[in-house]
């Protein structure tokens, strides 16, 4: 492993196969980043760095999986990565045209209690397919930042990079009660700047 400086956060990109995760990864890490293959595990996963607002993020593109109950050895890699990087932040990538199966994986990740942020990708394809996903509504229900992106064109990627620092752990029971209509009392957080990064401010 590469040595990491103290203010480097590891970001694991997790999502179903074929949701444009790699394209998003390339966008985030940018042209000047080295997409390096880790020694010994060449095609298992790729890692790159993103420097945003004086913070350094090491972004790891985890192989696509449908579930954390893996079906094959490639999906197993995803579970292993999550186990190995317990202090990481997870960027869950959803395909806006296939949101249900993406949410399944997202819930499994949420249950682990790690800080998360959601990229609602392929919004262009969703638009073509006449599928409208309410990103703000999703954010309100899930209680973690949800950012609409189109990795192919780069739309929303800047905003996503900016919001990574607002990632936070989701609370499944809070999600459930929000779905049951019992809007929870706003959690009053010290130093809340009204960023809309969590569900609390809306």
């Amino acid at each position: 492993m590469k040595e990491q400086s103290n203010n480097t956060t590891t970001i694991l990109m997790v999502g179903n196969p074929n949701v444009g995760k790699s394209a998003l990864f390339n966008r985030l890490t940018g042209a000047n980043a080295v997409v390096s293959n880790y020694p010994g595990t060449t095609v298992d996963y790729t890692a790159g760095t993103l420097i945003e607002d004086h913070r350094t993020y090491e972004i790891i593109d985890v192989p696509g999986t449908y579930s954390l109950k893996p079906r094959d050895a490639a999906e197993m890699v995803a579970v292993r990565m999550l186990d190995e990087h317990r202090d990481a932040t997870v960027l869950v990538v959803l395909d806006a045209t296939k949101i249900e199966r993406g949410l399944y994986l997202a819930l499994e990740v949420f249950e682990r209690g790690i800080p998360c942020i959601v990229a609602l990708n392929m919004t262009d394809a969703a638009h073509d397919k006449q599928i409208a996903v309410d990103a703000a509504g999703l954010q309100r229900i899930l209680g973690v930042p949800v950012i609409a992106t189109t990795a192919i064109s780069g739309e929303g990627v800047k905003h996503l990079a900016d919001m990574i620092r607002k990632a936070q752990a989701a609370d499944i029971s809070a999600i459930r009660s929000r779905l049951n209509g019992q809007e929870q009392n706003r959690r009053s957080m010290a130093g809340c700047g009204g960023c809309s990064g969590c569900g609390g401010c809306r």
Partner: protein
């Protein structure tokens, strides 16, 4: 917190109910194309067409256009004469190692590290690998591969695999190394083992294909036929011998998409870079090692030792032992070297098939080891059996046809 799957789906249904709205979906041209390419009646002819186009573009771009049209001229009429003149003392060991035969008039026969080695790596294999990966990336990014997997499933399911095995198989035609890792998309250990063994044995890599197209263009078809038949036969046998289950295909078939140019170039670059970094040093080193082995008489001793096996059982000249040793380092090198040995066309076919099916190259070996040493040992056992049986079989077929 541990929700059950059903609880998760309930939450998801509630979420999508509140956040997702769908309009009436209008079918697009892409969807119509998608249907046409997955229905057997139209899809199978299209698949054959695509594979044929893949092969002919590969052959004409790599073989005729770049290698014959440019690289051969560059290397044979400029680089080789210049190096032969510039390198001092043709009788020295260093000359033998790096330049090779002082009388050679082409880069295949000189067999020095800087003549044949460089020519094979840059002149023959690089264009082949480049065009292969370009086409592979387009197939991948457009969304055609899953459709091909569905069409091929019926056949592959008979040999213990399923349609998705087409992905490592096609990848293997570029390089076996990433293909071995790609076998992880198969569900069970049995499937992975079968695929890995068949990959290592019967799928020639792009480098090897490129050299084959260059030096034995008239027999490449037959070599490939033998390899495909072997793939089928031994896949069938392995499926019956190896315990374990072979689950059926269950995959998502994505809609067609135009490959994003940026993504294609990016993938192409990283794959080609991988090739340059790993293959070129190996080819040069391979030529050096083989030359040293020739100089020290090791190859001659091995050739004498294995002569009975090669001559009687496989029906090929004992000189082919040298290339087989080289083949462990790089298969492309071995084929190039075979092409300079005098033998009948059928012997050439046999020996090229042998080079393909016997030991995988060092790099493939290493990645297979990473997937598990028990699997690797078992694969080697399978491989030795296959080389004996299939090599003898091909010889026997030749005898029956009266050409061996």
């Amino acid at each position: 917190m541990g929700l059950t799957a059903d609880e998760r789906w309930d939450i998801i249904d509630a979420i999508t109910q509140r956040t997702v709205g769908t309009g009436t979906y209008r079918r697009t041209l892409g969807d119509a194309l998608g249907d046409l390419t997955i229905q057997p009646l139209t899809g199978i002819p299209v698949a054959l067409g695509v594979l044929y186009a893949f092969w002919s573009i590969f052959g004409s771009f790599a073989g005729s256009l770049v290698t014959d049209g440019f690289m051969v001229k560059l290397f044979d009429s400029s680089w080789l004469p210049w190096l032969q003149a510039a390198w001092p003392n043709p009788d020295s060991i260093l000359y033998y190692l790096f330049v090779g035969d002082p009388a050679a008039d082409n880069c295949f026969e000189a067999f020095g590290a800087l003549t044949s080695g460089l020519f094979v790596a840059i002149g023959v294999v690089l264009p082949a690998v480049l065009i292969f990966y370009l086409m592979m990336t387009v197939l991948e990014d457009s969304g055609y591969l899953p459709r091909l997997a569905v069409l091929m499933d019926t056949v592959l399911h008979k040999i213990g695999l399923h349609g998705y095995a087409i992905v490592p198989a096609i990848l293997g035609l570029g390089c076996n190394v990433p293909a071995v890792t790609a076998t992880r998309i198969l569900e069970t250990r049995k499937q992975r083992f079968i695929m890995m063994s068949l990959l290592a044995i019967f799928i020639p890599c792009g480098a090897q294909l490129g050299v084959m197209l260059e030096v034995i263009p008239e027999t490449v078809g037959l070599v490939m036929l033998y390899l495909i038949i072997g793939f089928g036969i031994f896949g069938f046998v392995l499926d019956r011998l190896i315990p374990g289950s072979n689950p059926e295909i269950l995959i998502d078939v994505p809609p067609y998409r135009w490959p994003a140019w940026e993504n294609v170039t990016r993938k192409l670059w990283s794959r080609t870079k991988g090739f340059l970094k790993e293959a070129v040093p190996f080819v040069l080193l391979g030529v050096l090692i083989v030359n040293v082995l020739y100089l020290t008489g090791v190859i001659a001793a091995l050739a004498d030792l294995f002569a009975p096996l090669f001559v009687t059982w496989f029906g090929v000249p004992k000189e082919t032992v040298g290339p087989l040793v080289a083949g462990f380092l790089r298969k492309d090198l071995a084929v190039a070297q075979l092409s300079t040995i005098a033998m009948t066309p059928y012997q050439m076919i046999t020996s090229v098939v042998l080079v393909s099916i016997y030991f995988p190259c060092v790099a493939t070996f290493v990645v297979m080891l990473r997937e598990g040493w028990r699997e690797l040992l078992a694969a080697i056992a399978v491989l030795i059996a296959v080389v004996f049986i299939y090599g003898g079989l091909i010889h026997a077929i030749g005898i029956l046809m009266g050409v061996a």
